[in-house]
């Protein structure tokens, strides 16, 4: 209940912060004599700018904001609200053009300075949108895309704020004060993310102990804290791994912690990483024992620790098995004998990561493992194809409505499970997913 109230409070705060400039303009300036379309265009501009400022807040990883929603939900908001903000930003000049604004004012080279800043901001918004939507078609690596995304976001926000300031009415200092406050908010968030967080991480380094090959092009990275006691985490959570020369210049990737949350004296953590992109294919194999790295975490609400449950249903696709491994190892170490059903989907038998370890866990847990193979061997007698409603109904136990379910895997599988599991008796609010394939 407390988390729900906090979520509602943040929702309300977001609403107020987006609407505040519009309300301030209406109150202090009063409505203009201009055509309806023109006034609508002005309003779209106020909304767009406030939303773009708050886009920074949505990806800040500030724990107080993240906890009620989950970090993947916030990233989803960032993406969807970014699209909405783009819509308002594009409507702004189009409506003003229709209301009599000269088209020459859209020319980034020839327009008056106040308009020029706005036109440049609009151009940068277009670049940001294009590189995000067409990243793979443009063959941009994730790291290159992230760099472009950050710099264009900063540039467009600077241009948009300069545009608002230059047009700020001398009779409405309240608006200038407000835009100044918003600019300072962006600056504070940037300083926190780019300076404060890396500085904190630099004081708590980690080093690689082992890099172990697993099935299905995955590797398990074992790290231990250097000079500090490490972190406490809940099974199913993830952390950002910062690799590179220093945490200020590091590449950051969110990886699930795949070891038990009941840690031994060494406080070592394990991260299981699938070879998917440039970082995981080229940088991870170079993380030899002794290599220093940094950790920002833990993060995430994908954990059974927060909700009561008589049993657990774990549905994993491919490398989605990693949070399930952490959950099961933690249950083993705590002597937790609640029943668990693990449905583990993979393309082939050899790509069932942690297959032997999961089988061994059946001796110490009340665990049922159901492997599902897309391309089974000829003598396979188990489940085959994809996880569908019929398969779920065959294996979900009676009374599953009082269980909690955790699903981790490709986006298509998450969509399907969010649809199928409630139809099979698991209430939707007991089905938990975590999505990271944003770009």
């Amino acid at each position: 209940m407390r988390l729900l109230l906090r979520a509602l409070a943040w929702f309300g705060s977001y609403l107020v912060l987006v609407l505040l400039p519009l309300a301030t303009a209406l109150w202090t300036l009063g409505p203009s004599e201009r055509a309806f379309g023109f006034r609508l265009g002005v309003a779209c501009g106020y909304i767009a700018l406030a939303m773009l400022v708050l886009e920074f807040a949505l990806v800040t990883r500030w724990r107080a904001v993240v906890q009620p929603f989950g970090i993947d939900a916030l990233q989803g908001f960032h993406r969807r609200l970014g699209v909405a903000a783009t819509g308002f930003a594009v409507a702004h000049p189009l409506l003003l053009l229709g209301g009599g604004m000269p088209a020459a004012w859209l020319d980034p080279l020839g327009a008056p300075p106040a308009m020029r800043a706005g036109s440049i901001a609009l151009l940068l918004l277009g670049v940001l949108l294009l590189t995000t939507v067409a990243r793979r078609r443009l063959r941009l690596s994730y790291e290159a895309w992230l760099r472009v995304h950050r710099w264009t976001a900063l540039g467009l926000l600077g241009g948009a704020l300069a545009h608002a300031f230059a047009l700020g009415d001398a009779a409405a200092p309240a608006l200038r004060v407000l835009w100044t406050a918003y600019a300072l908010l962006v600056l504070a968030l940037l300083l926190r993310h780019r300076l404060l967080a890396p500085w904190r991480a630099a004081r708590r380094p980690w080093q690689v102990v082992e890099l172990r090959s697993e099935r299905a092009d995955t590797r398990t990275l074992v790290v231990e804290p250097v000079g500090h006691r490490g972190i406490d985490f809940e099974p199913g959570q993830f952390a950002w791994l910062l690799t590179g020369r220093s945490p200020f210049a590091a590449l950051q990737h969110p990886i699930t912690i795949s070891s038990s949350a009941e840690q031994d004296a060494s406080r070592r953590l394990e991260f299981t990483i699938k070879a998917l992109g440039d970082w995981s294919r080229e940088r991870v194999p170079a993380l030899l024992p002794g290599t220093r790295l940094w950790i920002d975490g833990p993060h995430g609400s994908f954990t059974p620790e927060r909700e009561p449950a008589l049993g657990l249903v774990l549905v994993a696709g491919g490398v989605g098995i990693t949070p399930m491994r952490a959950i099961l190892l933690t249950m083993r170490d705590r002597g937790d004998r609640r029943p668990v059903l693990l449905v583990h989907a993979a393309s082939t038998f050899d790509r069932l990561t942690f297959r032997e370890e999961l089988e061994a866990l059946r001796a110490t847990l009340a665990l049922t493992v159901v492997p599902v193979l897309e391309q089974p061997p000829p003598d396979w007698t188990g489940e085959r194809g994809y996880i569908d409603a019929a398969l779920l109904r065959r294996h979900l136990p009676p009374g599953v409505g009082h269980w909690q379910c955790f699903v981790c895997g490709p986006p298509a599988m998450l969509d399907a499970m969010e649809r199928l599991l409630p139809a099979c008796g698991l209430p939707a609010d007991r089905v938990h997913t975590e999505r990271f394939a944003m770009v």
Partner: protein, 115 residues
């Protein structure tokens, strides 16, 4: 939070923002206050050298948008008033040309001279 719930939250927010923009655009006009702002800007930047009658004939007629736009373009290269003030001045002149009840052109300050 599952994906469907997240989509609902975003949809609700965007709908509220769209309604807010409509409310802003439809808000009843406060003629006197807006006219006073325009008159004040005229007095600050133009009244020293010009009278409104020089410009009103250009801005009369059924559709003042085009001549008003041209005037704004000219004003951006004329004088040192910021763009926001230029817009207020032209807006006030359009009003005057339309004959709407508005604050009259303020008289230039009397020179303090003795006969």
């Amino acid at each position: 939070m599952n994906d469907r719930a997240a989509r609902v939250v975003v949809g609700v927010l965007v709908a509220m923002f769209a309604l807010a923009t409509l409310a802003f655009a439809l808000a009843p006009r406060r003629d006197a206050a807006a006219a006073a702002d325009g008159a004040s800007a005229w007095r600050r930047h133009c009244a020293g050298c010009h009278t409104a009658d020089e410009f009103l004939p250009r801005l009369g007629g059924a559709d003042p948008v085009v001549p008003a736009t041209r005037m704004i373009e000219q004003l951006t290269d004329h004088g040192d008033a910021p763009l926001a003030e230029d817009l207020l001045v032209v807006q006030w002149l359009v009003w005057q040309a339309a004959g709407a009840p508005a604050a009259p052109e303020p008289a230039p300050e009397d020179d303090d001279y003795t006969l």
